[in-house]
C-alpha cells in the first residue's frame, strides 16, 4: 500500500522538475532570512541565481553540526518565531544538543511523510501502533505519533521506559505495529520473557525500527524473537525527524528517501566530492520544503550509499542503504577503520553471543588498544572459567579475522551496558588526540 501514490511513484523527470523548483525557492529563502547562509554563500561566491539545475546544488557550501551549534539556539531559523509552533532538540549523543523548529505547515508535512513511512512499513487504518520512541525533545515519539494519527491508526503513546508496564500493555491492548529503537525492542523481549510473556502470543505484524544503526543479523534476530517483520526507518531532527526515509515491507532492501522533500547526496567525507550511485560515503541532505528550519547540504555523518534502481514496491524514490556507521563514529585503530556496526555483526555471528556490547579505545604509550565489552547471556554462560575464556578468545579471533584489528574482549554482567532507553552508548574513546 502506498499512502501518496502521486508523489511516491512519480516518474523521475517530473520529480526532478519539482525538486529544482523547490530547491530554488529554499535557497532564495535561506539567503534572504538566515544570516549564516547568506554569509556562507557570499564567502563561496555563489548566489541563489546560480542554482539553475539540480547539479548546481554542488556549488553550495556544506552545513555541519558545528554550524548549528554555533547558531544555538535559534540562529538557523528561517521564519520569525511567531510562525514557529514546535521546538525539538537532538538527543545530543555526540555533544551539545542542536535545536530545530517547525511551522504549522512543517508539522503537517512531517505527519504526511510519517504516514507514508508507516504505511510503507506495513501499518494502515485499523492498526494499533505501540509507539515506544521517546516523547519529548527527541523527535521520535511525536514524529511517529502525528503520522499514525494522520494515517488513521490507533496510536498508544507509551514512550520509552517502564518496560514491565509496556509488556502488560502489549499483552492487553494487542498492538499490531511496534515502533521502537532496535536495541529497546530486544530489551522488551528480555523483560517479556522474565514476565512469562511470549511475543509468539502477541499480535504484532510489523515493527518499524530506527534512531540507531543496526545490522541485517540484528534484523534476523528481532524478526525471530519478536515474531514480526522488521523494517528500517531513517530520520534525524536536523533534517526533520523520523520519516526522512523508510524501507518498504515488499523489498526490505534499502530505504526510500522522500525525494519530493529532501535531496540526498553521497560525498567522500575527506575530499567532500560527490560520489556516484552505489558508492559508500557520507549522506548529505538538502531540505526543499521546510519552512522554519531548512538545511542546505547538511552533513549527516551517516555512512551509506544510494541506489537508483526501480523497486518492486513501485516507489520511484531513491533508496539509501542501511547506515553502516558514522563518519565521526568511525574509529581509526592503528590505522584500521572500524565501525561499531562491524563489531556488532561479528558478535551476532558468534554462537550464543548477545549483541549488547561497548567499544572502549585507549592509548597506551603510542599504541591504540581496543577493548570490546560484551554482556554475558545465559546461552554463552558456563560454570567453567576456561569455557568463558574460550568465548572471549573466539570473539577476539573473529574480530581480528574480519576487521584486521586486535581487540581484547571482556565479558561483563548483563545490563551493565545501558541500552533500555534511547540510544545505547556504543563507543567510549579515551584517547586524547
Amino acid at each position: 500500500m502506498i499512502y501518496n501514490m502521486e508523489f511516491e511513484t512519480m516518474p523521475r523527470e517530473a520529480l526532478e522538475a519539482i525538486q529544482l523548483r523547490r530547491l530554488q525557492a529554499t535557497v532564495e529563502r535561506v539567503y534572504a532570512n538566515v544570516t549564516f547562509y547568506r554569509e556562507k554563500f557570499k564567502q563561496n561566491k555563489v548566489s541563489p541565481a546560480d542554482i539553475r539545475s539540480l547539479d548546481d546544488l554542488q556549488r553550495l557550501p556544506f552545513t555541519t553540526k558545528q554550524d548549528l551549534r554555533d547558531n544555538y539556539p535559534f540562529g538557523m531559523f528561517a521564519t520569525p518565531m511567531d510562525l514557529v509552533v514546535r521546538i525539538h532538540a537532538s538527543s545530543g549523543t555526540t555533544g551539545q544538543p542542536t535545536v530545530v523548529g517547525y511551522t504549522a505547515r512543517d508539522i503537517q508535512t512531517w505527519a504526511q511523510l510519517m504516514a507514508r513511512a508507516l504505511m510503507a512499513g506495513g501499518a494502515d487504518r485499523g492498526d494499533i501502533i505501540h509507539n515506544a520512541y521517546g516523547y519529548g525533545l527527541f523527535t521520535g515519539g511525536l514524529g511517529v505519533h502525528y503520522g499514525a494519527e494522520l494515517l488513521g491508526a490507533s496510536v498508544i503513546p507509551v514512550s520509552g521506559g517502564n518496560t514491565r508496564r509496556q509488556v502488560m500493555i502489549m499483552k492487553d491492548f494487542g498492538p499490531t505495529i511496534l515502533t521502537a529503537t532496535p536495541s529497546y525492542s530486544l530489551h522488551l523481549v528480555e523483560v517479556a520473557e522474565e514476565m512469562g510473556v511470549s511475543f509468539k502470543n502477541l499480535k504484532f505484524k510489523f515493527g518499524i525500527f530506527g534512531a540507531e544503526p543496526w545490522s541485517e543479523t540484528m534484523r534476523a534476530e528481532i524478526e525471530r524473537k519478536l515474531n514480526l517483520v522488521a523494517v528500517d526507518i531513517y530520520g534525524l531532527s536536523e533534517v526533520m525527524g523520523p520519516g526522512v526515509a523508510i524501507e518498504c515491507k515488499e523489498a526490505k532492501r534499502g530505504l526510500h528517501i522522500f525525494e519530493d522533500h529532501f535531496i540526498p547526496e553521497i560525498i567522500d567525507p575527506v575530499t567532500l566530492q560527490r560520489l556516484p550511485y552505489g558508492q559508500k560515503g557520507e549522506l548529505v541532505f538538502t531540505t526543499i520544503t521546510k519552512e522554519a528550519f531548512p538545511v542546505i547540504r547538511y552533513r549527516t555523518r551517516d555512512i551509506c550509499s544510494l541506489n537508483p534502481e526501480p523497486c518492486i514496491c513501485g516507489r520511484t524514490h531513491l533508496r539509501m542503504s542501511r547506515v553502516t556507521g558514522r563518519s565521526d563514529d568511525m574509529l581509526i585503530i592503528r590505522g584500521v577503520n572500524v565501525f561499531p556496526s562491524q563489531i556488532e555483526s561479528v558478535l551476532m555471528d558468534t554462537e550464543g553471543v548477545t549483541p549488547h556490547y561497548q567499544l572502549i579505545v585507549d592509548r597506551e604509550g603510542a599504541l591504540d588498544v581496543l577493548t570490546v565489552r560484551v554482556e554475558v547471556g545465559e546461552k554463552m554462560f558456563s560454570d567453567e572459567v576456561k569455557q568463558l575464556q574460550a568465548v572471549e578468545k573466539r570473539i577476539s579471533h573473529n574480530i581480528k579475522e574480519l576487521l584486521g584489528v586486535s581487540a581484547s574482549v571482556k565479558l561483563v554482567e548483563p545490563k551493565t551496558i545501558a541500552r533500555s532507553e534511547g540510544k545505547a552508548v556504543r563507543v567510549i574513546d579515551n584517547r586524547k588526540l
Binding site: 545465559e378 558456563s382 560454570d383 567453567e384 568463558l388
Partner: protein
C-alpha cells in the same frame, strides 16, 4: 546421584560477592558450599544452596546471569591420603576433574567434597565400581 549446583557470573568489582550473599540472605536461601574461580576480569561463583529454584529466580531478577550444572558430592575419608585415594582411582581411569571444593557438613566421620566431571556419567560408573560413596541431592540437603 547428581547434585545441582548453581553458578553466577561476576565481574571483578568490589562488593559484587556481598551483593550475591545479600540477595540470597534476603530470599532466605542458605549457602551450603561455595567456591569462586576467577580471572583478572571476571569470576564464576559456584554454589550449593538449600532452595535452588528460589535462589536462581531471585538472582535472575536482580540481573545476574545464572547457570545450573550437575556435580557429584563424594564422601572422602577424613585422614591423610583420603582424597588421594579417590584421585588415584580417577586418574587410573582417565577421568579429568574440572574442579572441586569442600562441602561444609560432614557425613558421619567422613568429609564431603563436590566434584565437577565431564562427562559425569563415566565418573559415576567408575566411582561406584570402586565403592566410593556418592551422596545424592536429597540426602545431602537433609544433612
Amino acid at each position: 546421584m547428581q547434585v545441582e549446583q548453581i553458578s553466577v557470573f561476576l565481574e571483578n568489582k568490589s562488593g559484587r560477592l556481598s551483593e550475591v550473599t545479600g540477595i540470597l540472605a534476603e530470599a532466605g536461601v542458605n549457602i551450603r558450599a561455595l567456591a569462586l574461580a576467577d580471572t583478572s576480569d571476571f569470576g564464576v561463583l559456584r554454589l550449593i544452596v538449600d532452595h535452588k529454584e528460589r535462589a536462581i529466580q531471585t538472582l535472575k531478577d536482580n540481573g545476574f546471569t545464572v547457570g545450573k550444572t550437575e556435580v557429584l558430592a563424594i564422601e572422602v575419608e577424613d585422614r591423610p591420603g583420603g582424597l588421594h585415594k579417590i584421585l588415584e582411582i580417577l586418574r587410573g581411569n582417565g577421568i579429568n576433574v574440572e574442579y572441586m571444593y569442600a562441602y561444609v557438613r560432614q557425613s558421619g566421620k567422613n568429609a564431603i567434597m563436590i566434584f565437577r566431571f565431564d562427562p559425569i556419567e563415566t565418573a559415576i560408573k567408575v566411582l561406584q565400581k570402586n565403592a566410593v560413596r556418592i551422596i545424592d541431592g536429597a540426602t545431602l540437603h537433609a544433612m
